[in-house]
Amino acid sequence: MQLEVMANRGKILMERYELGRLLGKGTFGKVHYARSLESNRSVAIKMLDKEKVLKVGLSEQIRREVTTMRLVAHKNIVQLHEVMATRNKIYFVMEYVKGGELFDKVAKSGKLTEGAAHKYFQQLISAVDYCHSQGVYHRDLKLENLLLDENENLKVSDFGLSALSESKRQDGLLHTTCGTPAYVAPEVISKTGYDGAKSDIWSCGVILFVLVAGYLPFHGSNLMDMYRKIEQGDFRCPSWFSHKLQKLLFKILDPNPSTRASIQKIKESTWFRKGPRGTLAVKERTPSENVTTNAPPTAGVRPRKNTHEDVKPLMVTNLNAFEIISFSTGFDLSGLFIREECRKETRFTSDKPASAIISKLEYVAKALNLRVRKKDNGVVKMQARKEGRNGAVQLDMEIFEITPSHHLIEMKQTSGDPLEYRELLEDIRPALKDIVWAWHGDDHHQQLE
C-alpha cells in the first residue's frame, strides 16, 4: 500500500488535480487528498475501478442519485463537486472535510452527552431530510460516514453512493467487512426490496443510540442473533437516556417500516425540538404515556398494524424514459386474452403535483367510504369497508412521476370481486376528474361513441 501511495503522490489527474496523500481506504476504494490546479481548492478524490463498479451493477436509480448529488448543496452534506471517468476508473471529486470522523470522537470519549448528540442528530436529520426531498437515499448510514468540519459541524459523506460499496452484493445481503450490519433496518435484512427513506431513518435511530450510549443497540453473540434482534426491534436503553429520548428512539427503531416514524414525525418530537434540557432522566423504559400534544403515544408499546397509516411524505417513483414507454397501451397484450371490463389495471395521467393527487385520492376515498392506507413508495392502498362476494374489494393507486408536474397514476385491483371493482371504478372515475388529465386508452373510445 505504501508503494501505491508513493506512486500516486504528486501525480496530476486529468490535468486538473494534483494528488496528495492517501486519506483512507474504504469500501469504495481509495480516497486521496488532492488540490485543484485551477482554484487551488482542497478536495478529496474517491477512486473506483470501473470494472468493479460494473460488476456490482450501477442501477439507474443510483446513477440518477449521483447526478442529483452533483447538483445539491447542503451544509451538512459532503459536497460532490464532480464525477470524472477514464476508461478504467471513476473519480468522485468531493469536498475535503478537515475535522475527521465523528466515530473517533465517540470512541475517544466513550459516549456523548445528550446535548452534544442532539446537535449532531439535528444536523444529521437536516441532511437526510434534504437529500430525501431530492430523491437521494443513503442506504448505508453509519457513524463511520459522519465527518466533522473544522467548526465541529456534521458532514454526511457518501450520500447516494452506497451502491458502489463493494460490500453490497447482488443478493441483497449486506456483508460489511468491518462487521457493521448493526445499522441496517430489518426490512433490508429480510427482503430485497425496501424503501430507501425508511431504512435511512432506521439507521439514523441506530446512530442516535450509539452517540448517547457509546455502544450499538443491537448486538448478539453471532450474526443470526443480531439479525433476530434487529427484526424484532429488541433493544434496551441504558439508564442515563432521558425519557423523551427513549420515546423518540422507540418510534424510530420500529421494525415495521410502515409505522416507523417519518422524518416529519421525528422533527415534531419533543426531544428533537427541545433537546435534553428540561427533560428528566428516568431509570427505565416507561410504557406509553400521552404527554406531548402533537406526538402520538408510541413509546414502549408498538402500535399494531392499523388500517389507517398516515405516513408523510409519500415518495413517488420517478420514471425513466423507458419506463414511461413501457406503460403504452400498445404493449399491453392482455386485451387479446380478457375482455375490456375484466382488466385489472386502469391508468390516467395528471398535470397536478403529487401532493395534490394524494389529497384528492384521500378525499375521494373518504367520500366513497373507502379505507385508505398510505405506503411510502408512491402507492395509496384503498379498501372497501364491507365484505363483498369475494372478500372486500381492494385496490392500489400507484403514482409515478414523469416530471415534477406530470404524473401517471395506475389503479389496480388487488383483491375482491372483479364486478364489484368495476362498479367501484364507475364511482371513482368521475370523482377524480379534477386531477385527471387523460385516461389511458380512453380518448379514442369516447370519440367513437
Binding site: G57, I325, T349
Partner: protein, 193 residues
C-alpha cells in the same frame, strides 16, 4: 403496410404442427390448441382469412381497428417474423411465448431490445428513444416542453449508454433492464399460464 393477399386458408392446425409448436415453445399441446382458438377469433374478425392483419391486431388490442400506435406496430412487426405483413399462427405462438411467465428473463430482455431498436440497427440510438418518448407522450395526451423531453431522453440515455458511445447495445440494455425490472412488466402475461 402490405396486406399480403395470401390465399392460403389456414384451418385448425394439423396435430403434427401443433405438437411441433408445443415442443419448440414454452406452451403445452393443450395451450397451443387454446391459442389456436384465440388466433382464429382474431384472424377472422375482419378479413376472415386465418391470418392476423394489422387492423385485426389493433381491433383486438384497442377494440378499434383504426387506432395507430407506434408500440403496437412494433409488436406486430416483431410477431410478423416472415415480414409479409400478416401474423400467421406459428408466428403468433412463437412470439407470444416471450410473454409467458416461465420464459427466461434473458429472452424477454432480448425481445424488448428488438422492439425498441426501431430501425433494426442492432442498437438503440438516442433518436429512437426520443421518437418513442414523443409517441408515448402523444398517446397519453401529455404536452411536455421540448426541453423537458430532451432532458428526460438525455438522462435515461446517459444512464443506459454505459460506455457513452451514443448507442445502447444489447449488453448495456441487459444491464439497464436488470437494474430496472419494472421496465419489462408488460413482457409477462399471467393469462398465458
Amino acid at each position: 403496410m402490405g396486406c399480403a393477399s395470401s390465399k392460403q386458408f389456414k384451418r385448425a392446425p394439423r396435430h403434427g404442427d401443433a405438437a411441433l409448436l408445443a415442443k419448440e415453445t414454452t406452451f403445452s399441446l393443450d395451450e397451443v390448441k387454446a391459442l389456436y382458438e384465440l388466433f382464429e377469433k382474431i384472424s377472422y374478425s375482419i378479413f376472415k382469412d386465418g391470418l392476423i392483419h394489422k387492423e385485426e391486431f389493433q381491433l383486438a388490442l384497442f377494440r378499434n381497428s383504426n387506432r395507430k400506435n407506434l408500440f403496437a406496430d412494433r409488436i406486430f412487426d416483431l410477431f410478423d417474423m416472415k415480414r409479409n405483413g400478416v401474423i400467421e399462427f406459428d408466428e403468433f405462438v412463437r412470439s407470444l411465448q416471450f410473454f409467458h411467465p416461465d420464459t427466461p428473463m434473458a429472452d424477454k430482455i432480448a425481445f424488448a431490445f428488438r422492439l425498441y431498436d426501431l430501425r433494426g440497427t442492432g442498437s438503440i440510438e438516442r433518436e429512437e428513444l426520443k421518437e418513442m418518448v414523443l409517441a408515448i407522450l402523444n398517446e397519453s395526451d401529455l404536452l411536455l416542453s421540448d426541453d423537458a423531453v430532451e432532458q428526460m431522453v438525455d438522462q435515461t440515455f446517459k444512464e443506459a449508454d454505459l460506455n457513452g458511445d451514443g448507442r445502447i447495445d444489447p449488453d448495456e440494455w441487459k444491464a439497464f433492464t436488470s437494474m430496472n425490472p419494472a421496465l419489462l412488466k408488460y413482457m409477462t402475461l399471467p393469462y398465458l399460464k
